[in-house]
């Protein structure tokens, strides 16, 4: 596990500044218009400026007060949760819901808890029956059940 130690106020300030900057930059490429005839760029640029200023204030206040330590950002939860969700997105159309659930359950064993194969198998069976049963068979949501080649 890598731990990144930095100051949360400074980082969030920088984050707001950069998003504000992007909003101004991209927003300015749309027609700005005049106050009595606002173009699509007017409000975004206004918000971008506000975000930029707030970001500067957050970062600057931090420089004065010092701020406290940043809680460690861990890799494991990101990999497991985002991996599972992205896997669902990529696999659902190809593998169908049942096998996709299998992949997600397998991915979840990486979350750090002690798991055993029996428990995971039961979990998979429960989800693989209940979820397609309710959503695909019951509610008719358009989702493939099984892989098709």
């Amino acid at each position: 596990m890598r731990h990144i130690r930095l100051n949360p106020d400074l980082l969030s300030g920088l984050f707001f500044i950069s998003v504000g900057g992007i909003a101004i930059g991209v927003g300015a490429s749309y027609r700005l218009g005049t106050p009595d005839d606002m173009g699509p760029g007017f409000f975004p640029v206004m918000l971008g400026v506000a975000l930029l200023l707030l970001g500067i204030a957050v970062a600057a206040l931090n420089a004065r007060q010092g701020g406290d330590a940043l809680a460690a950002i861990k890799v494991r939860p990101i990999v497991v949760v985002l991996g599972a969700v992205v896997a669902f997105g990529v696999l659902i159309d190809r593998l169908g819901i049942v096998l996709t659930i299998g992949v997600i359950v397998a991915l979840c064993t990486l979350a750090g808890w002690r798991t055993n194969i029996r428990e995971q198998l039961i979990l998979f069976l429960c989800l693989a029956v209940l979820v397609p049963g309710v959503f695909v068979v019951g509610l008719n949501l358009p989702m493939p059940l099984w892989p098709h080649w």
């Binding site: 707001f16 409000f43 975004p44 506000a50 204030a57 861990k74 939860p77 497991v80 949760v81 997105g89």
Partner: protein, 501 residues
């Protein structure tokens, strides 16, 4: 008399067999969500949205709001029995509620929480019913300038009442407003911030934002902390407080109800803040404040009444002004829009059956909750024994299915993962996601009202201070910001929270 007619209409809607069933399903799910830590109402409502496409709008809104206030109830059960606040609004209940349980008075604590909540629910529903119509008729006369300023007040008060730094909360609101603008601009038809992705042409779905920022980020945090539940062992015989405990509590219930009712109307984290405020008030008024923290029943009765009252009156700004006061109701706002009902003053006149049906269903739901909670306490406690490692894969699968079935878009699923990452990182940066959610929902509306106001005034921003009501709202907004700089308020708030946390 008119009020009685309206309530009668409401009861005839909410009392239909079908709607009673939806109400029951809602409060049952809500209690479940409230009992289980790591599963929040925001994520639950978002996951269930695709299901509600198949239900009539009134039924689904009754169910979704049932989840919302049911969660407040359920949260207190685990707070008392196992010292785990299922919801943030029951954090203070842990302090004295759990001590009471340790002393063998768990039943009394649960009982007084249920009685207080039910009483508070009854009072605050009357307040909602009484205030909604006059407020809505005032709001019907609002022009774009008034609406814009009102939204400024709503968002600012959400920022003031949020945890942590005011500046960060403000920045999160602006970030949310910006995210709300993504997609096709209604007025000009221009595509904004889509960066070439087809999936963004219709804007970002509020379900994607809510599930990512709240649902997924919560799971990530729980995995990080290797969240494990203690084994639960509790013994309680009688579920009713004795006479002495009732005498000690009834005033606290009254005060908590009053406090919660008032605070709930203000946008912001109403239920949580009002339970903290009620706890502080009870301790201040107690003859012997040292009892607090040692199992004082007022410390359970007051906050539990307050958070339930606030949860109900939270519907006032949503249903009469069209301003979602918190993240859960922001999701409900999105759901109403999806059903073709724009939340706001016109709901009362154009959909009276829906409006009064929803309000009376809350009373019915409260009654169901008291029946559900007291006898089923044992079941809820046993549910806590299901380990999180078995639960979260299911939550993940349901979240994915929920997002995907919205519009069968793989892009939405991947975008949800992106918002999950954003939510996780923002939590690490001590930025609360709730203000972002509110900004996101209000973004397009605010732009529209801002644009219309300036068209009316031929481009002069002075219209916002020249219209008396709008000026009044902006004055309140300024007052809110000043209030935060009022050091007493800040230290008081910090003190209460550090004791609770």
């Amino acid at each position: 008399m008119e009020l009685l007619n309206h309530l009668a209409l409401g009861f005839s809607v909410a009392g239909s067999a079908e709607n009673l069933l939806y109400c029951f399903a809602g409060v049952l799910l809500g209690t479940l969500v409230g009992v289980l830590p790591g599963v929040g109402p925001v994520a639950t409502i978002s996951v269930l949205l695709p299901v509600t496409f198949y239900l009539p709008p009134i039924g689904s809104l009754i169910m979704l709001s049932g989840i919302y206030y049911g969660a407040q109830y359920g949260g207190s059960t685990t707070a008392i029995l196992v010292n785990l606040p299922g919801e943030s609004s029951s954090v203070v209940t842990c302090i004295d509620g759990y001590r009471m349980a340790q002393k063998g008075r768990a039943g009394a604590a649960l009982g007084i929480a249920a009685i207080g909540s039910f009483f508070a629910g009854c009072v605050s529903i009357l307040v909602v019913a009484g205030l909604a119509q006059p407020l809505a008729s005032v709001a019907l006369a609002f022009g774009p300038a008034e609406y814009f300023s009102l939204m400024v007040v709503g968002l600012l008060s959400a920022a003031v009442l949020a945890y942590g730094s005011l500046l960060k909360a403000l920045a999160m609101i602006v970030l949310g407003l910006l995210l709300g603008l993504v997609g096709t601009d209604v007025t000009s038809g221009a595509l904004r911030f889509t960066f070439g992705f087809d999936g963004l042409f219709d804007g970002i779905s509020f379900v994607v934002v809510a599930l990512g920022l709240f649902g997924l980020a919560e799971i990530m945090e729980n995995i990080e902390q290797q969240y494990a539940r203690q084994t639960v062992r509790s013994n309680f015989r009688e579920l009713l407080p004795n006479r002495e405990e009732m005498r000690a509590s009834w005033k606290a219930i009254l005060r908590g109800t009053a406090l919660g009712t008032v605070l709930g109307i203000l946008p912001g984290t109403g239920a949580t803040i009002s339970s903290f405020a009620s706890y502080a008030l009870e301790r201040k008024l107690a003859k012997d404040p040292s009892r607090f923290g040692q199992g004082a029943i007022e410390g359970v009765a007051g906050p539990e009444s307050a958070n339930n009252a606030a949860a109900q009156t939270h519907f006032i700004p949503l249903l009469t002004l069209g301003i979602p006061p918190g993240p859960t109701l922001a999701v409900l706002f999105g759901a109403m829009v999806m059903f073709g009902i724009t939340p706001g003053p016109q709901v009362v006149t154009s959909h009276p059956d829906l409006f009064w049906g929803m309000i009376t269903s809350m009373w019915i739901g409260n009654l169901m909750l008291i029946v559900l909670n007291l006898p089923l306490v044992g079941l809820w406690v046993r549910l806590l024994a299901v380990p999180y490692k078995v639960m979260f894969p299911g939550i993940l699968v349901l979240s994915c299915v929920g997002v995907f079935s919205l519009r069968n878009s793989v892009f939405d699923v991947v975008l949800t993962a992106g918002f999950g990452l954003l939510g996780y990182v923002l939590r690490k940066l001590r930025c609360e996601p709730a203000p972002l959610m509110l900004g996101f929902i209000l973004g397009p509306l605010m732009e529209e009202f801002f644009r219309r106001a300036l068209v009316l005034s031929r481009g002069s921003p002075l219209i916002f201070v020249r219209e008396p009501l709008s000026a009044f709202f902006l004055l309140i907004a300024a007052g809110l910001v000043l209030m935060l700089s009022w050091s007493w308020f800040r230290t008081q708030r910090r003190q209460v929270m550090s004791e609770a946390g």
